[in-house]
């Protein structure tokens, strides 16, 4: 099932920092295929390369070796403007620290991707409000980040990730700063995006409970994928 080309495809991807004695291999010859509609959780020790992998998946960073292909197109060969357009339309990011613009209303924060998509002011506002309603913050559209709780800020960030109808949501420890009850709420929201809207989700987490929401679990160690399992509700099938 699925298309021939994977949606996201790492082929021998390495990402190195520094050189000589100080060389750090954040990703070390990683192969990975992610298909449309998957919900992938990435776990692993600190420093194992999870964030690096997600950043490269989202075109925020490029591999230093190997190929990253999006629907068969090598990302390294794309012009910066095309990468920007991909970040704008294909991917939605959710960060551990929310990364909302300070002193800017929830509505304007959510509308930001639409600004760069060239959407007119009225439609921006409409669609941003719609996204805020989806995450349950329709009444707080005027609030600024410092007037919102952590959980609410993360909901605004999710609305921002959603607003331009991305195919893929990339979340780097989205519940890392939240208590367990709020985490559960956020995880429900994220998993509903996958199940109800068919959005592909790739999520880094340290929390085993959060990882259980995903059907496929990757474990990273030292820049490599240690295990890649698909759980089918009943049990886990080992793939790698």
């Amino acid at each position: 099932m699925g298309s021939v080309e994977p949606l996201l495809h790492f082929r021998h991807v390495s990402r190195e920092y520094g050189e000589g004695d100080g060389l750090v291999r954040a990703l070390d010859d990683v192969d990975l295929e992610i298909r449309h509609g998957e919900f992938v959780a990435i776990t692993g020790a600190s420093g194992s390369g999870k964030s690096t992998a997600v950043s490269i998946l989202g075109c925020l960073d490029l591999p230093t070796r190997g190929d990253y292909l999006i629907e068969g197109h090598a990302v390294q060969s794309l012009r910066p403007e095309v990468l920007a357009a991909l970040r704008n339309a294909k991917f939605g990011f959710i960060f551990q620290s929310y990364n909302l613009l300070p002193r800017t209303s929830a509505l304007d924060n959510v509308a930001l991707p639409l600004l760069y998509a060239g959407v007119g002011a009225n439609e921006r506002e409409e669609r941003a409000l719609e996204a805020l309603v989806t995450v349950g913050l329709g009444t707080r559209s005027d609030a600024r980040p410092n007037q919102l709780s952590g959980g609410q800020q993360q909901r605004v960030a999710i609305a921002r990730a959603l607003v331009n109808h991305p195919e893929v949501i990339l979340a780097d420890e989205p519940t890392g700063n939240l208590d367990s009850r709020t985490s559960t709420e956020i995880m429900h929201l994220i998993s509903s995006l996958n199940t109800e809207r068919g959005i592909t989700v790739v999520m880094v987490t340290h929390d085993a409970k959060c990882a259980e929401y995903a059907r496929r679990q990757l474990v990273f160690r030292d820049g490599k994928i240690l295990s890649d399992q698909v759980s089918n509700g009943a049990g886990a099938t080992v793939r790698a």
Partner: protein, 403 residues
Amino acid sequence: MNARSTATVAMAALLRNRLRSLLTVLGVVIGVAAVLTMEALGQGATAYIGSTISGMGSNMLMIVPGSPSHRMGGGATGAPLFTLADVESLRNARDVGLLSSVSQRSLRVVAGGLNRTTLVSGTSPEYLDIRSWGVTRGRRLTREDERQAAQVCLIGQTVKNALFSDAEPLGAELRVHGVSCRVVGELEAKGASAFGMDQDDVVFMPFTTFTRRITGSDRVALVVVSATEPDRIDDARDHLQAILRARRHVLPGEEDDFAVRDPREIQAVLDQVTGVLTLFLLGVAGISLLVGGIGIMNIMLVSVTERTREIGVRLAVGARAGDILTQFLVEAMVLSAVGGVVGIGLGLVGGWGLARALSLPFVVPVSAVPVAFGVSLLVGVLFGVFPARKAARLNPLAALRFE
């Protein structure tokens, strides 16, 4: 991202730091204000000088004894005064229309119980025509007065007010240096001259009366003529010069021992002074704008560093490097344009205030306003490019992780 949302984003960013933004553009404000004040003053002074010089009479030339290299007036150069015969020969010079001998002294004049020291001139009847000067009441001096050396005079408005506050001056007796004269006319008010002299503090009498009764000498220290047409002024000057050189036996190659002066020369000298002043103020403005520009660059660099994460977020949600570049460039331009507008306002107020203080007319330097605004925008672009490029070149991931 379109122009309007870019400007809105830039404006919002600047308003967040109102005080800092204002302090930053102070240099631009001062630079632009200096330019405008200077322009307003310069144009006011030019207008004023222009109007007073044209008030001296059109096509006028003045002939005085003494070498022309002694600027303005001269006098004590030992050159002989003109004779009546000299003057008569000048009257027939080509391109010369009207001519008047003038002899002047500062003298005490008395009317009733009041007295005043004023400038008394003996003039030919043509004098008022040459200077396009009229009488408001009474009559002018005539050829008849001249021929008879009649004891009559005209008085300026200042003299009238000082000596005849309530009384009727026409027909009244005025004693000039002990010589009794009848006031036959009141001169039109003329105001201050280009050098600030009160031109209404004067008494005119026939040249013959003045030389015979008061000075006792018929030598002439000043001849005033008018050229027939404005474009004949230079020719008239040449002819006057040729005649006088011959009559005064100036050898070829030798310098004139008299000077034919054109009031427009005063304009040229004053223009020169204004020019130097303008250059100086332009220098001040340039330095202020440079300092202002560096201030803008500095604050924009600070802003780029402060907002590195914001830039990271914008890049992560799809901003192109070009969007970031425009955003910061527009911010710098809005900043300096605001400085420009404030500076223009301040400069106009300053120019108005100075013009009032110096009792010059206030002229809005219309052409300088768009130039000043353009220059302030240019400062924003020039000094905004470097910080904006720095922002646009940030790597999205590094910017997001920036602490």
